[in-house]
Assembly symmetry: C2
Homo-oligomer: 304 residues x 2
């Protein structure tokens, strides 16, 4: 199995942005995550799809070397999300959500998956995240995502999850809701006192902040003149971040920072096209080149 295991959603998205639209295109948190991670490491996925899930998407994920033994196919339809972005691309407007087979998703962990090195708990019910954690040998690194729906509705269960994770990866609106404070430094202090050693706050076009106990690291998003569809940027970020960490095994502060940049690099590619279309034609040289462009974007010399 892969050193990296992700539990999340595989979906068919219908997306409209000012720059185009797509119907029933490949989406889902585990899909974006594992595809991004596959540029760095071997990755295994736990998710569920319905009978209607096109074989071509399975073929694509396999072509990325993603281990799909944990991808259940069940009677019924695949999870569908329909959303729209206006020119303010930072925020999706959900038009329709059909959970379908995802509604009764209970992650099954194949025996071969029970000792992952790194585990990413995608945005699912906190009780299910806890359930997955109990079914695996404690990985050396556990990261998780969540959303306002769980922050507001399952706060207690969510804190129980957070006590057991190393890295929480959420967006700024979620961070403010979780910490019940508009100041992110104060939110970080609270979150880091409750379990996670790292809080990563995604800010869309404004980049990302990583709070550790004694340090903050920040990076802008890569300025693009052709953002076509922001869907999946956050999960792609997490996939690049954890994929790079899985590939190095070094967890020094310097490597954590580089992982933040690789996450940002992968997200910057994803948003250039709909669905995973940009990642389908991406090669690792382009990834390295953009990492170096990120250095030019952000590095400056010390003063005397």
């Amino acid at each position: 199995m892969g050193k990296l295991l992700v539990v999340g959603s595989v979906a068919l998205d219908t997306v409209k942005t000012p720059f185009g639209e797509g119907t029933d295109i490949l989406g889902g948190s585990a899909t974006y995550f594992s595809t991004a991670a596959s540029f760095f490491t071997s990755v295994a996925l736990i998710a569920v799809v319905g009978e209607d899930f096109p074989q071509q998407h399975i073929t694509f994920l396999k072509s990325r070397g993603i281990d799909l033994a944990g991808l259940e196919r069940r009677p019924g339809a695949t999870f569908r999300w329909k959303g729209e972005y206006t020119h303010q691309l930072n925020e999706a407007h959900t038009l329709d959500t059909q959970l379908n087979v995802f509604e009764t998703f209970r992650p099954q962990i194949p025996d071969a998956y029970r000792e992952p090195d790194i585990l990413f708990l995608g945005n699912i019910h906190p009780e299910l995240q806890l359930d997955v954690l109990q079914k695996v040998t404690r990985p050396s690194l556990v990261a998780c995502d969540t959303m306002n729906f769980w922050i507001n509705g399952q706060r207690e269960a969510l804190w129980k999850v957070l006590e057991k994770v190393d890295v929480l990866i959420i967006n700024d609106g979620e961070a403010r809701a979780l910490g019940q404070d508009s100041n992110l430094v104060k939110v970080a202090k609270l979150v880091l006192s409750r379990g996670p050693k790292h809080l990563i706050i995604k800010r869309g076009e404004y980049g990302v902040l990583m709070f550790n106990e004694n340090q903050v690291f920040g990076a802008p998003a890569f300025p693009l003149n052709g953002v076509r569809d922001p869907t999946g940027a956050g999960d792609t970020f997490a996939g690049g971040f954890l994929g790079y960490l899985a590939a190095t095994s070094n967890r020094s502060p310097e490597v954590m920072k580089q992982a933040i940049i690789f996450g940002s690099v992968m997200a910057s590619f994803t948003v250039e096209s709909f669905s995973l279309d940009r990642l389908r034609i991406l090669d690792y040289k382009e990834v390295k080149d953009r990492f170096r462009e990120f250095r030019r974007l952000t590095q400056f010399e010390d003063i005397q």
Copy 2:
């Protein structure tokens, strides 16, 4: 005279934020700009105040070494601005504006000021900005600010100003309005084709982007747990940026990047207190220390 000349407003602000309030406190674009710049270089100010402007503020500005020969005192009341910030500190809600003596402000340039090395045209009517430009020997660097009121109402005059400036320093909402496009990379391309060699886009708590012909530089804002009043952050940024450039005379890309960081450093101090209260007690060692903290916040190692 100073190598650096600023034309702008000196005001008395009444400000309310979730963390306190102040009535008729020292404010204005030229005030914040020149105080920030004074940490790096000598600076001269052109502005107008009324008969009611307290002598203690004059004493403070003089104590910073700011040349006030261009500060007119005229019959009438000083420009007053009243605003409020909610927990979303990024945006001010203007409650009242009393232009008073600022309404008929026609910048007079003392003879001793006619050959500045660097000129900052604060946010005044574009026709007045043009008028100032015509009255001085072309400085080696001209920067200007503006606002949506002029972008929407004086677009043609504003473009005439921009043809003559080297650096445009505006916020992201203003950039989008000026470029009539939500994509900042496209806006930058347009603006840079019309005159300015550098477009600096301030994004409040999200930091800053500088677009040059062949390069983009980005820096996050310094994460603070105690933002009390964001008033003046943008003008303070401009003062730190141009103050550092005036002090070095080197205009290499590396120095421009350092100047962006010094602007961000100064802005991060200003927002820690109301009015210029934080800058009153700031010393240059703290400025250098925070510059180095900015490096820890943003610098990461290259990959093999």
